[in-house]
């Protein structure tokens, strides 16, 4: 063992038309980084010259080092027998010979095109995507509805176990988080209302505010958003990873309809559970509001109840409940649809999951706005 630090090095000198290069030290991958630049510069100088590489002082060589030596050799000389390796140890020579066929460079990335054209390309693809994904999702919605209709006529086609499983996972397991969230929302709405209404001496209207806000809008909307993030994403990831592992193809090959086996139970589970969750959210939102009204406005729970029964028309409650199944359908269908769009890689599962949540929330809010206008028009 030498006491010298373990690095790669080389020395070169020129005699007429021939370069003599002496490689020294350890030519192994960890040591080669620092000399690569210098070696390339040297390689350029040796163009059209002969090159003799002396390997007598080499302490170690691996494939990376051998590749670099061969690269240097083939780039300059190699035209006649004059250029060659000398004093190489037999095991080093074996490696060098093994490298001769492996010097072809290869691209590391797909070729890049002009940035402007690339941008135009992206815009074009984006527009096309919007069109075709709209078609695809409409097609998917149609398929789901026809499968649901088939199940309605032949109820034994329904996968009961799977449906209950998803009802538990997407519905029952979400009760604590949905409840807590709407409790807090109810409390926050009460605080905000109380502060403004107190200025007019109209504290009692806080009850109206809470009732309308929580029952009509916030309960169902926030529950839907939460479920889109919680279960819509889960549907996409589950179906997507099944797609990656070709389980969906296997189902098709076995004569099973993936929409019937995978999508229908999820859609039905959400259709049943989202209204129930909305109910829970509405009730707990009222409780949160009532507690705040009690603590900061001295409206006792009894008064709160009485006022609620007096002024909150039942239609507010029904507006919330009617919207729930529509939101449920949208969330489940978009979640499952994005799952079926997963392709190939693990990255794709992530992209589709993000897309599924964003789209589901967007469509839910859009639909909510539509419902608001609709109910306003029909004066419900």
């Amino acid at each position: 063992m030498t006491s010298l630090p373990k690095t790669a090095d080389f020395e070169a000198e020129k005699a007429e038309r021939t370069f003599h290069m002496a490689a020294k030290g350890l030519w192994t991958a960890p040591c080669l980084g620092p000399i690569d630049g210098r070696l390339r510069t040297f390689t350029e100088k040796t163009l059209d010259h002969e090159l003799i590489i002396d390997l007598g002082a080499l302490e170690g060589l691996d494939t990376a080092g051998a590749m670099m030596l061969q690269r240097t050799m083939s780039a300059c000389g190699g035209r006649t027998d004059e250029s060659r390796f000398v004093n190489a140890a037999p095991e080093h020579m074996t490696l060098l010979v093994a490298m001769t066929d492996n010097l072809a460079p290869c691209p590391t990335e797909p070729p890049q095109r002009n940035a402007f054209i690339l941008m135009l390309n992206r815009v074009g693809q984006g527009v096309e995507n919007v069109y075709f994904s709209a078609l695809h999702i409409l097609n998917f919605i149609g398929v789901v509805i026809s499968v649901l209709w088939r199940i309605l006529r032949e109820p034994k086609r329904l996968r009961l176990t799977s449906t209950f499983h998803h009802m538990e996972e997407a519905g029952l397991d979400a009760v604590p988080i949905v409840g807590l969230m709407s409790f807090l929302i109810g409390a926050v709405v009460a605080f905000m209302g109380a502060k403004v209404l107190q200025q007019f001496g109209a504290e009692i209207f806080t009850v109206d505010l809470i009732g309308v806000a929580v029952l009509r809008e916030f309960g169902v909307l926030l529950t839907a958003i939460l479920i889109a993030g919680r279960s819509g994403s889960a549907f996409t990831a589950q179906i997507g990873s099944m797609k990656v592992r070709e389980e969906i193809d296997a189902m098709r090959a076995l004569g099973l309809d993936p929409v019937e086996v995978l999508v229908a139970p999820r859609v039905i589970a959400l259709l049943l559970m989202l209204p129930l969750l909305t109910f829970v959210a509405g009730m707990l939102g009222m409780v949160g509001g009532a507690l705040v009204a009690w603590s900061s406005l001295n409206i006792t729970p009894g008064m709160f109840m009485a006022r609620t029964q007096e002024v909150i028309v039942l239609s507010n409650f029904w507006v919330g409940m009617i919207k729930a199944p529509f939101f449920a359908f949208i969330i489940a269908v978009i979640g499952c649809f994005q799952g079926t769009q997963v392709e190939g890689s693990a990255e794709s599962v992530g992209q589709r999951t993000t897309l599924s949540v964003v789209q589901a929330i967007f469509v839910v809010i859009m639909l909510d706005a539509f419902f608001a206008m609709f109910f306003l028009e029909i004066d419900f």
């Binding site: 991958a29 492996n102 010097l103 460079p105 290869c106 590391t108 990335e109 797909p110």
Partner: protein, 265 residues
Amino acid sequence: MIAAEHLDDWAIEVEGLRTQFGAHVVHDNLDLKVRRGEILGVVGGSGTGKSVLLRTIIGLNAQAAGRIFVFGEDYDAVSNEARRAIERRWGVLFQDGALFSSLTVAQNVMAPLREHLDMPEALMEDIAAMKISMAGLPPDAGAKYPSELSGGMRKRAGLARALALDPEIVFLDEPTAGLDPIGAAKFDQLVLSLKKALGLTVFMVTHDLDSLYEDCDRIAVLAEKKVIAIGPIDEVRRNPHPWIQEYFSGPRGRVAAHAAGAAAE
């Protein structure tokens, strides 16, 4: 040649290994030694824990008992830093290549270089090109993503990545499974030529009888939770254990033996 038995001769030593998942014992008191520079084929029926053994040796599964020495060092006793140093000295080819799907093949090969070594980008690209070529892939495969490759090409790309850091040991998990016979034969040739050129130690889990005859210096048979036979293939074939007899004397075993015999003549 009779080799003196000292520490340096063994690349991997497994002593009294016991692995279990819950109450299910996969290996019990398993011993196995792999010589430096040999190709060891590990065979066994489905579910005998061949892949588990491989994963345990490379530290992906914790063993319940027993010790594993790699290059003479107890893998579980050394510091994290020493462990990483050991990890750099082996390469692993997983069953389906296990390539990073968001990177191209060349970027996959460059990943360990980038992670472990400090070198300019251009050199990394040269090394990646060299490894890709060594693994028998055409140069244009470098820019492709794993999902664009066939199964055989993914295996080769996985091998290129496994070889990226010039490992001393290469672990291959069923390298020829799922390849057509021509592709499998080429892969066998590739492993042999790499072993000759680079002096690799190869630990190969396989079901492929042709691979065993073509490549392996020794084979180890896993059954009954331990290694029931280890040695050159002709020696193992004579072992009277019923599973070994069934394995080598079945129709496929006879054909492979015949082919190997014919090739030798």
